[in-house]
């Protein structure tokens, strides 16, 4: 028996900060100390605290080592694993207390979280089906096939109040019910999984697939049973190599165990799964475009109705759900609809996973009950904003969403509240912005993204977003007029109302919501020709304050454009005509003599 286990995060975050080398070194050192039979190394999925990666946790003590370096490994193995002396100086600071080690779940980052969709991420080895089974995996599928009718399954999902986690929030049970009942000709139906997570800064679905791929497989089989489908497709982006690899392993293992394939659990139910890789088009996250892409055609959206539940993949009834939605399903089946609906707010039940990014201390993945406030997420779980800067806004929903300003910090996060303040839940990207972010620039950033990603099929989106981007560019270049602001708003509504698919219908949201909450910043750009946050370079000027300049020449030496002149020990000056506004001089100056305005 292994008396100790070392869990090392193998998610994309920790993998890129070096966890593979750490795992290799661990194996070496454990062997060197003759501990192979006593200590097991397990590569898991994401723990969530990506900012502190690579992350490693040692059981049974539950010691949380963060930002581990390869050279720390010999010490951890010989001290902790061999001699039982915890290497305190390498522990995550917050877990070290006078009375010993604080359990991870009591730390600020974890204590307000409630993990349902992420419950196995960072706990099991995603490449080992036995470990998934050991934490009640495939029990829900067994229960459904042995004890429940398809109608009962659908009713349970309906009663739970689960809504689509991809962002729009359509009731999942309703979707299943429609796919079961609209067409009943005995023909093929399909179950699809949307893992084409395209929002910049969002990585919830990736983490579920990397940390707990079997949960998606199990849930899709349950959905298959519920609607009467025998074939499923997981549409996942090719940019997620680790997720794709683990999914492949998981599907093969499930087939070997007879949990996919013919006559599952001997109950006469057949279901199999295939993976389809997306080629990185944002529009393929839109349901009709995704299905067109699975069919082998160019990923372009089509008109709805008919909705996928009636005519979806290959013109057959199809259920398409997001990864996180599926991740909730087995738990709902096992623990019941009441358990699930006891979490959350009146109309949004359960939990939601957010990928926390931007100007925040604890970058990472958090799962919170619906109804948690943004303030709790940012200041308690997220650990606040680095360098004591002031919170300005949080952006949710990526290019389709909007921002939540300071005055709404205490809003309870759920689908309807976010819509009411002009943002949306989205798939769960949550980007925090501080006083150094220019909101006009942020809107421009997202528009640039949608201009790139618009598929071009319909005119309002193809041309409208481009024009919108040009207007924003004009404003950030200092050439905007007040008339432009009005025109822009009109164009936004035009695009929203006339675009074919969700991409175009939501593309203007970043502009509309920044216009709503940060009109003053737009006005500063248009009227005063200033960028208050100091981001838009066209509206900036770097200046040297004569009184403070000691003439050390450091700035002149670092300037790549040769724009700074002056003799030694004399105040220098910047030639605005030559200055490229790179800011190199400002960060070099030790005397704070250079300012931008």
């Amino acid at each position: 028996m292994y008396r100790s286990q070392v869990l090392v995060c193998g998610g994309t975050g920790c993998t890129s900060s070096g966890s593979p080398a750490i795992i290799e070194r661990l194996h070496e050192e454990i062997k060197k100390n003759g501990l192979e039979d006593e200590v097991q190394v397990v590569r898991t999925g994401c723990f969530g605290l990506c900012a502190l990666g690579p992350i490693m946790i040692v059981y049974p003590e539950g010691c949380f080592y963060s930002a581990v370096k390869e050279e720390d490994i010999p010490e951890i193995v010989s001290e902790h694993l061999l001699k039982g002396r915890i290497v305190e100086h390498l522990l995550y600071k917050e877990t070290v207390t006078e009375n010993g080690i604080k359990p991870l779940n009591d730390t600020n980052f974890y204590k307000k979280q409630h993990r349902v969709a992420l419950r196995n991420c960072g706990v099991i080895n995603p490449e080992n089906i036995d470990e998934y089974i050991a934490v009640d995996g495939y029990q829900a599928l067994g229960k459904v096939l042995n004890e429940m009718t398809p109608e009962q399954v659908i009713q349970t999902i309906l009663d739970s109040g689960l809504r689509g986690r991809g962002g729009a929030g359509f009731p999942t049970g309703k979707k299943w019910q429609l796919a079961r009942t609209i067409v009943q000709d005995g023909g093929q139906k399909y179950v699809c999984c949307n893992a084409d997570e395209g929002d910049p800064g969002a990585f919830m679905d990736r983490s579920v697939l990397e940390g707990d791929p079997h949960v998606v497989i199990e849930a899709m089989a349950i959905a298959g049973y519920a609607i009467g489908a025998t074939q499923g497709y997981i549409y996942v982006r090719a940019e997620y190599p680790i997720a794709v690899q683990r999914l492949r392993i998981a599907i093969n293992q499930a087939r070997e165990y007879g949990l996919l394939g013919k006559n599952i659990f001997g109950k006469g139910f057949d279901f199999d799964l295939d993976i389809r890789l997306g080629a990185g088009a944002f529009v393929c996250g839109e349901e009709t475009a995704l299905m067109t892409s699975i069919e082998g055609k160019r990923g372009e959206p089509r008109c709805r109705p008919p909705f996928p539940a009636e005519k979806g993949l290959f013109q057959r009834p199809t259920v398409l759900n997001n990864v996180e939605t599926y991740a909730n399903v087995p738990q709902i089946i096992l623990k019941g609809a009441d358990w699930f609906s006891s979490m959350g707010t009146e109309k949004s039940k359960g939990t939601k996973v957010f990928a926390l990014g931007g100007k925040i201390n604890n970058t990472g993945l958090v799962e919170i009950p619906m109804g948690t406030t943004l303030r709790e997420i940012v200041y308690e779980i997220g650990g606040g904003i680095p360098s004591g800067k002031k919170f300005k806004a949080a952006q949710t929903g990526g290019p389709s969403g909007g921002c939540i300003p300071t005055e709404h910090l205490d809003i309870k996060i759920d689908y309807d509240n976010l819509i009411a303040i002009g943002s949306m839940m989205g798939s769960g990207g949550l980007i925090v912005m501080d006083e150094d972010n220019c909101m006009v620039d942020i809107a421009k950033f997202f528009l640039e993204f949608t201009v790139d990603e618009s598929c071009g099929k319909c005119t309002p989106c193809r041309i409208g977003t481009k024009r919108l981007y040009e207007m924003l560019h004009k404003i950030t270049s200092g050439n905007g007029t007040l008339e432009d602001l009005d025109k822009m708003e009109k164009l936004c509504y035009y695009i929203k109302n006339n675009s074919l698919c969700g991409l175009g219908q939501t593309a203007p949201n970043p502009v509309l919501s920044t216009l709503r909450y940060f009109k003053d910043e737009y006005m500063a750009h248009v009227v005063d020709k200033k960028c208050p946050a100091g981001v838009c370079t066209h509206l900036l000027q770097y200046k040297i304050i004569e009184d403070k300049c000691k003439g050390c020449t450091a700035c002149a030496r670092v300037c790549p454009a040769g724009a700074i002149s002056g003799s030694v020990k004399e105040p220098h000056s910047i030639d605005p005509a030559k200055c490229i506004k790179c800011g190199a001089c400002m960060s070099k100056c030790k005397f704070g003599a250079i300012i931008k305005e």
Binding site: M1, R3, P60, K83, A134, Y138
Partner: protein, 122 residues
Amino acid sequence: MKTLADLQAIKENLQSQMDLRNESHADTKIAVGMATCGIAAGARPVVTAFSDSVQEHKLHGVSVTLMGCIGLCSQEPIAEITTPKDGKVIYVKMTPEKAKRVVEEHIIGGNVVKEYTIDNNK
């Protein structure tokens, strides 16, 4: 795999391994002194004997950990057993054979093996 029982069998097989990762699972703790003095006195085989024995009897909620020197180097190898019933009991001069007996009589049977405890070996 054809039945729920097959699923259950796989689950039980891995249970003790998965239990390890649950910080609150263990109400019974075995800690063996593995500082230099402990290792020199032969604590390694004692640790192995404890964990093998726990595995052999398929015990749930029992963790085997290591600890540092508690200052009684002459009495090493030392094992500290914490159970809900008897609280903390310190065994001294342990051997693999003694470890097996402690698991069987103290942890499973609920009777402290008095002849090995620190109080009876002063």
